[in-house]
């Protein structure tokens, strides 16, 4: 059987620094797959490898029977992989509607269709009241949701979410988690990065924990949370 998503022995070196060291994992369709690790452990680099913003040093990435690591970056989206950015990158001087339409144009050239599609998604993400606001004027929580909406407009089968809850207050976090669950229920597989453990425990089906670019644990949230290496990485030697 062809695996839905698979990373095989992925390595990324920047000069002498190994940012991602021989990571292998698979994600099945319909799953929420979490990746955790301390700051600078290589999580975002891994996303940048999957979405081809960086070339891999070695290793293979397969998605839906397609090999990704030689495609140009903009083709990744056509394959059905959407992503958000840790430091949000809104199209600042476009409205929320414009942002989402820019994504919706991937599958249509008609202004009317793109607009209808975008409005649906804006509604789904609870952004209706901001529809005509310029992206640069939005508060951070809304910008993060806009990132997700824009990626959803490209109709991804797999969505890469990079620290969607970072910088949000508890209530906003709750809302974000609710949205992520709704997206999964709509049939989109999700890989999510977060370094807030609590968030990850609640929504992930499986979690991969990494430190210094290498895997330290992989399994259900409970297994990973109890794993001594994970505790050590998060809390320091004394607690292990």
């Amino acid at each position: 059987m062809v695996k839905f998503f698979e990373a095989k022995n992925v390595v990324k070196r920047f000069g002498g620094l190994t940012a991602v060291n021989n990571l292998s994992f698979t994600v099945s369709q319909g799953e929420i797959f979490g990746i955790i690790g301390p700051n600078g452990s290589g999580k975002t680099t891994l996303f940048n490898l999957i979405s081809r913003f960086f070339p891999v040093t070695s290793g293979e990435i397969h998605f839906n029977g397609q090999q990704l690591e030689n495609l140009p970056a903009h083709k990744i989206c056509n394959q059905g992989i959407g992503r958000t950015f840790q430091v949000v990158k809104p199209l600042r001087r476009m409205t929320v509607l414009g942002n989402v339409m820019a994504g919706a144009f991937l599958h249509t050239s008609s202004m009317g269709k793109a607009r209808t599609k975008a409005e649906e998604i804006i509604d789904f993400c609870g952004l209706t009241q901001f529809k005509d606001s310029e992206a640069k004027s939005l508060p951070i929580a809304v910008r993060k949701r806009l990132e997700i909406a824009r990626a959803l407009a490209t109709e991804p089968k797999l969505l890469l979410l990079d620290e969607t809850c970072a910088g949000l207050n508890p209530r906003e976090s709750e809302q974000a988690i609710g949205l992520i669950k709704r997206i999964r229920d709509a049939g989109v597989t999700i890989i999510i990065i977060e370094h807030v453990m609590k968030v990850m425990m609640g929504i992930s089906d499986r979690i991969l924990a990494i430190n210094f670019g290498s895997q330290i644990a992989l399994g259900s949230p409970q297994e990973v949370a109890r794993h001594p290496e994970v505790i050590k990485a998060y809390l320091g030697e004394d607690h292990a």
Binding site: S51, F53, P72, A73, H74, K75, I76, C77, N78, G82, R83, F85, K89, P90, L91, R92, R93, M94, T95, L97, G98, M101, A102, G103, F105, L106, T108, S109, M111, A114, D132, S133, E134, R150, A151, A153, T154
Partner: protein, 327 residues
């Protein structure tokens, strides 16, 4: 098609009718001459705006396309004895062909480096056209004998060129392509993540931009009947001038370049007439003031003011996609 969009078209139609009526009201050749120059600059500005304003790729080398268009018309006449009006067909095509390799080279670079590379390319064109004396007549330039001298005729040709340029640019901007171009300007990484092939779309913006700049060049040659490399490939009087025209009127707006060209040419002529040798100095001071206080041009500035007074959420400084989304 809602009300606002219909109103916009109605407004455009009224402006066009007014423009058609002008030569019956203003008959002085000098005034018509200024209006013809305004249309040349409005055309170049509108073309530049597609690449610079909407796509955010600030070109300091549009003189290359302008000059190539102008020389296409002039050299047809010089070497083959053909009417320079054929240049109106050939000039834009040659300019677009020249843009192809330029795009492939320069779009490897981002931001100020792109601007510098275009600047260097514009200068290379000027030097090449100066030095290839056998082909281009070098610094001596190209002189043609115009068949028609009626200012009113040139006015209408210029108006047609401008209207076509405005229309095509408008249609490009208010389509999927327009959304993609603005996305690239706003954030290249985000655009890539949405499946937009950024280099391809930058070229999509460059080609019509070069095409219409070349068209303006060919028209200019027919109108003034004499060009040399220092006139049409000039860095400050063409490449930089067009940027200032667009900035003055409104970056990334439909009407901005035309308004900017009108003000610029009119002010330039007024200063020349009244201030004598200080005219360029006053002009320069004005340029600094505009960039410092009204960087998004008169239209952008008005939008900002309107927002301050009315707190209307929909008005976007500099237009961008605001016009689209209000449709």
């Amino acid at each position: 098609m809602n009300k606002i969009k219909k109103l916009n078209w109605l407004f455009a139609l009224l402006v066009l009718l007014a423009a058609i009526a002008v030569p019956w009201v203003i008959k002085a050749p000098y005034h018509l001459h200024i209006l013809i120059l305004v249309m040349v600059w409005a055309t170049i500005g509108t073309a530049w705006n597609l690449l610079g304003g909407y796509t955010g790729q600030v070109s300091f080398g549009h003189a290359a396309f302008f000059g190539v268009g102008a020389y296409a018309a002039g050299l047809l006449n010089l070497h083959y004895g053909l009417s320079p009006w054929w240049g109106m067909a050939l000039g834009p095509v040659v300019a677009a062909l020249a843009a192809l390799p330029i795009g492939l080279i320069c779009f490897r670079l981002r931001g100020p480096y792109f601007a510098l590379a275009m600047l260097a390319l514009g200068e290379i064109f000027r030097l090449m056209f100066t030095n290839l004396t056998e082909f281009t007549n070098g610094a001596k330039g190209v002189l043609i004998m115009p068949e028609i001298t009626s200012k009113m005729f040139f006015y209408y040709v210029g108006l047609t060129v401008l209207v076509v340029t405005l229309l095509v640019t408008y249609l490009i901007v208010h389509s999927k392509i327009g959304y993609y171009l603005v996305s690239i300007r706003e954030d290249q990484d985000a655009a890539t993540s949405l499946g937009i092939p950024t280099t391809f779309y930058k070229n999509v913006a460059l080609l019509p931009s070069a095409f219409f700049t070349g068209l303006a060049g060919a028209f200019y040659m027919n109108y003034v009947a004499f060009i040399d490399p220092n006139i049409v490939f000039n860095l400050s009087n063409v490449s930089v001038m067009v940027i200032l025209v667009v900035m003055m009127g409104g970056v990334a707006t439909t009407w901005g370049p035309t308004i900017g060209a009108g003000i610029y040419i009119a002010l330039g002529e007024y200063f020349r007439a009244t201030l004598g040798s200080a005219n360029v100095l006053v002009f320069g001071i004005l340029v600094c003031l505009i960039i410092m206080f009204m960087p998004n041009g008169i239209i952008g500035g008005l939008e900002t003011l309107k927002q301050k007074f009315f707190r209307s959420g929909t008005g976007l400084p500099g237009g961008g996609n605001g016009e689209v989304l209000r449709s």
